[in-house]
Structure formats: structure tokens, C-alpha cells
Symmetry: C2
Subunit: 161 residues, 2 copies
């Protein structure tokens, strides 16, 4: 395994492990638990789940894989705070999307070769990329991994709550 392949494996493994951690937690939580606020006055579990889905959906265009599959979720779960939009998708719908999304994203990610991950992502121009070569596809995975860990640390509070 080359150093390049090792570096890519590191980051993709960490993403996959973080998705897996969150998935195990989501499956351990009932729909009722996910309807609760993670902490008094804070986001509900269902909102955080929708937020993660919407952020991950946006990885598709950023990585040049596809268009967003659930563009309607952006307004609800990224642009609006929790409890400001009366009608949001149910926990069951979101669980089903989460599952489909995991599989789709992984299939797309598996198609990239190690060196492809060092190409620029679509939110950085060619000119900027020359100066900032770390703004590559791998960096998208890395920043979304810490984002996912951040919110998983919050969702855990729904356990036995």
C-alpha cells in the first residue's frame, strides 16, 4: 500500500466508522426518543437526523458525484432552526433516507481511486486550488466526519432520556 493509499484509507475509514457509530445509535433510539429535544430547549433528535442527511446530501455535488437527492431538506434542516417549520418529514421517512443515502454515498466513494481524492472539490476554483491544494475531495470527507462526530455527541443524550 502506497503512502497515498494509506492516507486515503485513514480518512475514509474514519468517515465510515463515524457513520457506523451514528447508525448504531440511531437504531438504538426509538422514534419517540428521536422526537425529543437532545437537551432542554435544544434541537430535537429528528432535526439533527435531518440536518445530517441534508449536509451529507450536499456532499454529492461537492464531490462531483451527482445532484442533491433531497434538495427540499436544505431549507428545513440547514437554513431554518429547529421548531420554526411546522411540517417536517417523519422520523420513519428520515430513517429510510439515511439508509438509502449511506449505501449510495458509499457506492460513489468506492468508485474513486486514491489519487482522485486529491482533486479539487467543486466549491473551489481552479485558480484557488493551485494555491490551496488541500481543498480537495478528501477534505470534504474529513470536515463532514468531524461534523458528524459533533452531532453524534449530542444525539447520544437521547439514550435513556
Amino acid at each position: 500500500m502506497s503512502v497515498l493509499q494509506t492516507a486515503v484509507k485513514l480518512i475514509l475509514d474514519r468517515w465510515e466508522a463515524s457513520i457506523q457509530n451514528c447508525d448504531v445509535l440511531l437504531k438504538a433510539l426509538s422514534d419517540d426518543q428521536l422526537q425529543k429535544e437532545v437537551s432542554p430547549g435544544k434541537n430535537r433528535g429528528v432535526y439533527l437526523l435531518g440536518h445530517l442527511i441534508s449536509v451529507h446530501d450536499n456532499m454529492l455535488p461537492l464531490l462531483g458525484f451527482d445532484e442533491k437527492q433531497y434538495p427540499e431538506l436544505t431549507k428545513i434542516f440547514i437554513e431554518s432552526p429547529d421548531k420554526t417549520i411546522p411540517e417536517i418529514p417523519s422520523v420513519q421517512e428520515l430513517r429510510s433516507i439515511w439508509e438509502k443515502q449511506r449505501i449510495y454515498l458509499k457506492a460513489k466513494m468506492d468508485q474513486l481511486k486514491a489519487e482522485d481524492w486529491f482533486e479539487r472539490h467543486t466549491a473551489v476554483s481552479e485558480e484557488d486550488f493551485v494555491k490551496e491544494p488541500h481543498r480537495n475531495k478528501l477534505n470534504i470527507i474529513l470536515t463532514r466526519t468531524t461534523h458528524l462526530a459533533y452531532h453524534t455527541g449530542q444525539l447520544i443524550y437521547l439514550k435513556q432520556a
Copy 2:
């Protein structure tokens, strides 16, 4: 910048940004706020701060930099749950250690060359490392970065609590 250097920069930048995020949050919280539970019945802020310090302290031997600087914190903040040990360091002491530790760790990390990060960390044997070359020093940084993000997502709940 070589691909190897880019990969290292990605991960070290993400660690540094995560430390920075947490540091800004800690500075925005009062000592009184840090004494509170992050969510009812959950860990106190002071415990999470001590926990992060102790986990980061353990990075020193793992990365071959030094011995633990605060070995006495392991029992309090890693081996014991919160609120089981009556006498723990004060928020002020922990703030001061956090600050010193940041600077010390960064100085040590800055000394490594890009290729050094692909060496094995001290918790993996030479034999295992041949089969699992991703168990390198860079991976220690990456796993501690997601760990830090996870708990930062919890500490944020102390704001305006």
C-alpha cells in the same frame, strides 16, 4: 506541495481547527457554566474538559513525544465516570493545563516531517504495522480529532444554559 504533504496538512489542519473551536467555546464559558451538567444527569463541563486534557495527554506517549504530563488525571477523567470522585482539579487549574498542553503538543507536532506521520504509533507492534500500515501517527491525530468534535458538540450546550 507533494501529495504526502497535502494529506498530512489536511489532517493536522483539521486537528488544529477543532482545538481552536473548542478553545473559543471554553473561553466563552464561565467557570460557573463549566461546573454545570451539559444536559440533565449527564457529565459536567469540568469533567469533559478534564477528559479531553487526559486523552490529549496520552497522545504524547502514543506519538513517541514524551511521557504523560498529567498521569494523575487518567484515573479521574478516563477511568472514573463523572461525580464518582469527590476531589477533582478546579476549572481554573484545568484551563491552565489546557493552555499549556496546546502549546506543548503543537511544538512537538511541528517537529515531525510529513513522512514521520506515516510511522507506526507506539500502541501497535512492528509485526502488526506491516499488515496494518494505517495504524500510524497520523491516525492518532485523526481519531482524537473526531473524539474532540464529539465532546465539543456536548460542551456547546453549556452556552446560555
